[in-house]
Amino acid sequence: MNIPKTLYEKLIGSHTVCQLDDKGHVLLYIDRQVLNEYTSPQAFSGLRDANRDLWRANTSLAVVDHVNSTEPQRVSVGPQEGGALQVNYFAKNCEKFGIELFDILDSRQGIEHVVAPEQGFILPGMTVAAGDSHTTTYGALGAFGFGIGTSEIEHLLATQTLIYKKLKTMRVTVNGTLGLGITSKDVVMEMIRDIGASGATGYAIEFCGSTIESMSVEARMTICNMAVEAGARGAFMAPDEVVYAYLKPKPRVPKGELWDRAVEQWKQLYTDADARFDREVTIDANSIEPMVTWGTSPDQALIISGVVPNPRDNIDLAKRKSMTRSLQYMGLQAGTAMQGIAITHAFIGSCTNARIEDLRQVAEIVKEQKVADGVRAMIVPGSSKVRAQAQEEGLADIFINAGFEWRQSGCSMCLAMNDDVLNPGDRCASSTNRNFEGRQGAGVRTHLMSPAMVAAAAIKGHLCDVRDWEIN
């Protein structure tokens, strides 16, 4: 009798070139890699210095996303000296090594984790690695994606493999129906709050349950994307008909008979009944409320109807200290109602939440409304294709009429590596993934939430419950 296997074990097993030791290290074959301009330069320099070539150039896709300007008027390089250096070196490397590049002016440009799925570059059952922690996003397609550093990129480009240590497995089961105005962002934020910022460190997460099954692929991507904020080095869902329907019209997927063969094979990508996980977590979707962060770690989150917690209520001394520090940085007092907190900025963007479905939700909230006085509100679509589609659907007009800046795509203010940087003391409602100190600029205070919640905050001028909105 075969031993029942988890999907993780199947994905890793089918990509293992050889075992390297008896501690779980394997040489793992990687099917696809996505490259960006800021984590790749030293990897290319390493290849050049050692006079090494790429193992297989057509497994790579290169996208400029981190440093480019998001000003409405596109320019090929960008205003910043450092960014220009990276963009130019990236283009030179892609040309030398024969890698396909979507540069700033390309109509397919965008955030790598938005672009790769919309191109059909990522398929179920693939292993994917990229120099960006949010590579976990691809798990929504039934692929196994994870982030790597620059030295690993170099290793991957030269050998098509990584020296990989197998992870423990965690299953997160989400059952139930989400309430009106509650999104997959709230689900993943609730999970991170529950298990903590290192709750999944050393684990790969498989998500399952009726809530996940009823979600669109884009909503699933938000969950897999942000699982890394709980420390997961890989987060995925078994592919299903929803995934196949999403993929079928994409440009780079197999066509005709090959498609049918692929789907047959992808249907084997599931966890066997009775397979054992190292940890099980369950989440009741019925009880999830809109989530917001109050601190400087993604697990410092609570429901919007809550109040800023008091560090003294925590029995763990180390946690108490870090809560105190977070509150000090955030300029918040314990006991303050989250709903009243005034904002100076609202940002809708990032690989977590800037796809077309996100923008449609935002449009519903801000239609025929105006951004509050004193709030600067920006929308940075996840890709140039998303931008074009939003314009076609009339969403862009709604945003502009409401007083939002409607910008070009890129990572932008998610990590503020380009010129979209806020000033010390600014407070931003943000649809992004990290509320770290200094993430959106030194001294900037970030509150994470769903795009619909950011939209509502932009209109009200303070954090508020999107559900009140829907009732009105």
């Binding site: 193992w55 960006d132 030295s151 050393g202």
Partner: protein
């Protein structure tokens, strides 16, 4: 990669949990195409005042911990962004090892690739160790990678675990790409079969 055998030096306390790589290496230092000059960026927003002067309150600016070669760190150190610049910067600043309970996965691998030793101790032991570092009871230590020991005094040692494969790579300063390329034939034969089974991956 520098080989690690025995290292002696000061250890500084950095026991806050969830120190992320944005804090270790802020965005303004990520714009190069080489690895140089990143020592300046390490903990920049905390280490320097707005005037550019060193912040006297920051742990690595305090006289007893200036020039520390080891850091005792809180749980989940290195979480967040994959930026290897954080590790390059720490190394350029002279840090040779980090001692904590848990480390973020990508950060851990980045350390390994750059010869920065990461030691994981259990929580109880680490809490005690961290307190002794913070109080100044433990100031200078010796780390012996071959024997897998942290030497606190002539009589007091802590043993630590490390995968033999990682240990060997660190001790010899191995070039991982070079050793993987010795398996070229195995990779090629795997790839041939893999692409035959999944022709859409070609």
């Amino acid at each position: 990669m520098d080989a690690f055998t025995i290292e002696i030096g000061k250890i500084a306390p950095f026991m806050t949990a969830n120190i992320d790589t944005d804090v270790i290496m802020p965005k303004q230092f990520l714009k190069g195409i080489d690895r140089n000059g990143l020592d300046k960026g390490v903990f920049f927003d905390q280490r320097f005042l707005l005037s550019g002067e060193p912040n006297p309150e920051f742990v690595l600016n305090k006289p007893q911990w200036i020039g520390a070669r080891f850091l005792a760190v809180g749980a989940n150190f290195g979480c967040g962004s994959s930026r290897e610049h954080a590790v390059w910067g720490l190394k350029q600043l002279g840090v040779r090892a980090l001692i904590g309970t848990t480390f973020a996965g990508i950060f851990y691998d980045n350390c390994q690739r750059n010869g920065l030793l990461v030691i994981e101790l259990d929580e109880k032991l680490m809490t005690q160790f961290g307190e002794h570092v913070a109080s100044g009871e433990i100031q200078e230590i010796e780390i012996d990678l071959l024997r897998q020991k942290i030497k606190l005094t002539a009589k007091n040692e802590i043993n630590f675990e490390l995968d033999p494969m990682r240990k060997e790579a660190l001790m010899q300063g191995l070039d991982a790409i070079g050793s993987t390329l010795q398996r070229t034939e195995a990779i090629k034969s795997f790839e041939k079969q893999h692409l035959m089974n999944n022709p859409w991956l070609g």
